[in-house]
Symmetry: D2
Subunit: 134 residues, 4 copies
Amino acid sequence: MSRDVIFQKLRQDPFAQFLGIELLDMRDGYAKTALTVQENMLNAHGTPHGGVVFSLADAAFAAASNSHGQVAVALDVDIHFVTAASLGTRLYAEATEEHLGHRIALYRLAVTTEDGTLIALCHGTVYRKEQSLV
Amino acid sequence: MSRDVIFQKLRQDPFAQFLGIELLDMRDGYAKTALTVQENMLNAHGTPHGGVVFSLADAAFAAASNSHGQVAVALDVDIHFVTAASLGTRLYAEATEEHLGHRIALYRLAVTTEDGTLIALCHGTVYRKEQSLV
Amino acid sequence: MSRDVIFQKLRQDPFAQFLGIELLDMRDGYAKTALTVQENMLNAHGTPHGGVVFSLADAAFAAASNSHGQVAVALDVDIHFVTAASLGTRLYAEATEEHLGHRIALYRLAVTTEDGTLIALCHGTVYRKEQSLV
Amino acid sequence: MSRDVIFQKLRQDPFAQFLGIELLDMRDGYAKTALTVQENMLNAHGTPHGGVVFSLADAAFAAASNSHGQVAVALDVDIHFVTAASLGTRLYAEATEEHLGHRIALYRLAVTTEDGTLIALCHGTVYRKEQSLV
């Protein structure tokens, strides 16, 4: 199964598309996503909603963990909110593989701004199913 | 400051409104939110996106932790995905206070279906600022 | 395989014995452990070391997750430290099953004092192997 | 306050000493600890107890987060168990600072063997008090 087919499938994630999350890059065990913070993505304090930051990280996590072509489903993610970004900021999430086991794999997810300011940091665990992605 | 004023402010969270998340209830240290899973909330596997489930839990978390009228900002959340919900399902999130300290407070966030099936389970920590919410 | 055999096996956990952790109770998906904080269990600040509190919770987690007689190995645990206990205090940890899946199970672990003060709160995930415990 | 004074204080952590955890290195926002797995550190499955691995990571975390000379107390730690080590193995934990805020700081804790095999991976958050360590 080609990398392109997997990439196309993951790019068409409906919720990521709905939020305007772009899948910029995907390699074995790695993915990068981006999003620009819009007005409708703020919370009651006027900063980007935790759900937006999480969704961006989760999209990179899904792409990196499914990049091997085997279906990977998220078991858990812990997210640490470090700095509040502001309206209009372009945010990036990078998912890197910390461990790839037969059934379980672990990823580091870092959300940053263009200039490298850390916005949020996560670890995410997936369960890898027998079936292939496409 | 009245409970109603806080409730109205939290209900107007732009991202929660954008996703159709309803704030059903809010009391001191407690909140309940709901959302119906739409087509644009699915992921590449056809199940509700992790970001949607997280956002619903996070909206309850924000309301419960800000319910005392003092600004509370999320430090971290760990989410455990238990069961995949399906399209059209109505999901509920309840946030309950496990600990309320001077600066730090801890909440349990449970996402369930109408019939009580556990979809996701979280703990979330906030830092409570000096300033009041409104 | 009888409950007694499992209980005896889990009670003989060498590290739990080394620390003086007692396995007080074990039922399907539940366990309770206890420990009294000794001088050699303090940290540099003079309060119980995070590793001691974690170990007590982890012992309850191991017993509850292996209580079904199928080998369960910990994937991850998140621990939230709520209140610092003091020297000589008797601490209890209770592990309760939040979800029991075919391969994955999720537990809540609460560490408290005799009078119910919450010391630490965790969620822990296990991977359940094919093999049985004894 | 000199680095040496802080280092000496953290080295004398009673529980770390009790387990034979050595504080190998400490610099601003960084620390490294080590421990050799003994028979009394195993669990019922015959592998190093989760509490031992956690304690080693926690000792590095405490040293790194208190390295600035300001008292830092742990709020939460999430630990992901990646590979089971074996009896007699020498384990190392390195804590590196991911973010240092005025009140909150975040650390990555990695437990590895001599040859670099990843045993466990954590993120830990501290609350930084006004008072200084010594």
